[in-house]
Symmetry: C2
Subunit: 162 residues, 2 copies
C-alpha cells in the first residue's frame, strides 16, 4: 500500500499498480475520495471469492497534500461498513515489513498482524510471501470491531495543504 | 509459482503482476498446469464481482520450453468450463496492441476484439485504457461458444523441449 503512496508522492506511474480491471470488476468495494479540487484518495478492495467470510483491501492512496486529515480512515471506514453489510466478518490486507508508516497506520486503525515465526522490530511477517525477497506483514481486523480514528491530529481547513 | 515467473518472461519482473492475493482469493478460477517435471503453466482469473454475467482472465503464462503444445488452450478451456458452470456467459481479458503474439493467439482461440474508433493493423483498441499510454485491446468471448484448438502444431513427447 505504501508503494502507492510513494508513487503518488514522487509522481511515478501509478497505472501499473492499478489496472483498470479493479475499477470495472470490483466497483462496489472500491472508493474514491473527492473534493472540489478533484480526486484526493482512493481505496481498492474486493470480497474474497474463495474465503466467503473475508474481504481484502488491495491498494489505498491519499494525495500528499491531503494526508493526516482522516481521508484514509474515512475510506477504510466506508469499506468496512460496505463489506459488513455483505456478510464479511473480517478484512485482510498486507504490507511490507520495511514500510514502518504503513505498519504503524494499520496498527493504529486497529488491525492486528498475523502471528509468524519471523519478526522485525517486534512485528511478525511472512517470509517471501509475494515472491523471493517480498516479505509481507499480514493484517487482519474483524468488521464488527470499530475502526479507530487516525490522522485527525491536524483538523484541517480547506486551505491547509502543508 | 511466483518464483519461476521472472525466469519465464526473460528476466522481466513479472512477479509484481501476480501478488499472492490471486492465489488466496481467486483459487476456484485459477489453474496450474503440471507435468512430472513441475509446473509449466498457469492461468489466473476471477468471477467479476460487479458484472454478474462475466468472468475475467487476468494473467496466463506457459514455460518457454512447453509452448506451442496446447498448454495454454487447455488452461483457457478449463477456465471456460468452470465459469460457465458458475453461470457466467462471457469471458473478458485485455492485452496490449503491440503484443502481436497475444492478439493473434486470442483471435485464434475465438476471442473477438471489442469495437473501437482507434485501431492498429486492423485491430481495435481502447486508448489509455490502463493509464496514460497504456492502450489495450479488449477481448470478449461467450462461454457457450467453443474454444478453438491452438498451439498443437507440434504434438509433444515428454522429451521434446526445443
Amino acid at each position: 500500500m505504501i508503494r502507492v503512496l510513494d508513487e503518488w508522492w514522487g509522481g511515478r506511474h501509478m497505472s501499473n499498480m492499478l489496472p483498470k480491471l479493479f475499477f470495472v470488476h470490483f466497483c462496489e468495494t472500491s472508493f474514491i475520495a473527492e473534493t472540489n479540487q478533484g480526486r484526493i484518495g482512493f481505496l481498492i478492495g474486493f470480497l474474497s471469492q474463495t474465503q466467503a467470510e473475508e474481504a481484502y483491501i488491495h491498494f489505498v492512496g491519499v494525495h500528499p497534500d491531503f494526508r493526516k486529515q482522516g481521508v484514509g480512515s474515512a475510506l477504510y471506514r466506508q469499506f468496512f461498513q460496505t463489506v459488513q453489510k455483505l456478510d464479511r466478518v473480517r478484512v485482510k490486507c498486507v504490507t511490507s515489513p520495511i514500510n514502518k508508516d504503513s505498519i504503524s497506520y494499520h496498527l493504529r486503525l486497529g488491525f492486528q498482524a498475523e502471528p509468524s515465526e519471523t519478526q522485525q522490530d517486534g512485528v511478525p511477517y511472512c517470509l517471501d510471501y509475494d515472491g523471493v525477497g517480498e516479505n509481507r506483514v499480514l493484517f487482519t481486523k474483524a468488521t464488527n470491531d470499530k475502526l479507530n480514528d487516525v490522522g485527525r491530529r491536524n483538523p484541517r481547513r480547506a486551505s491547509s495543504h502543508s
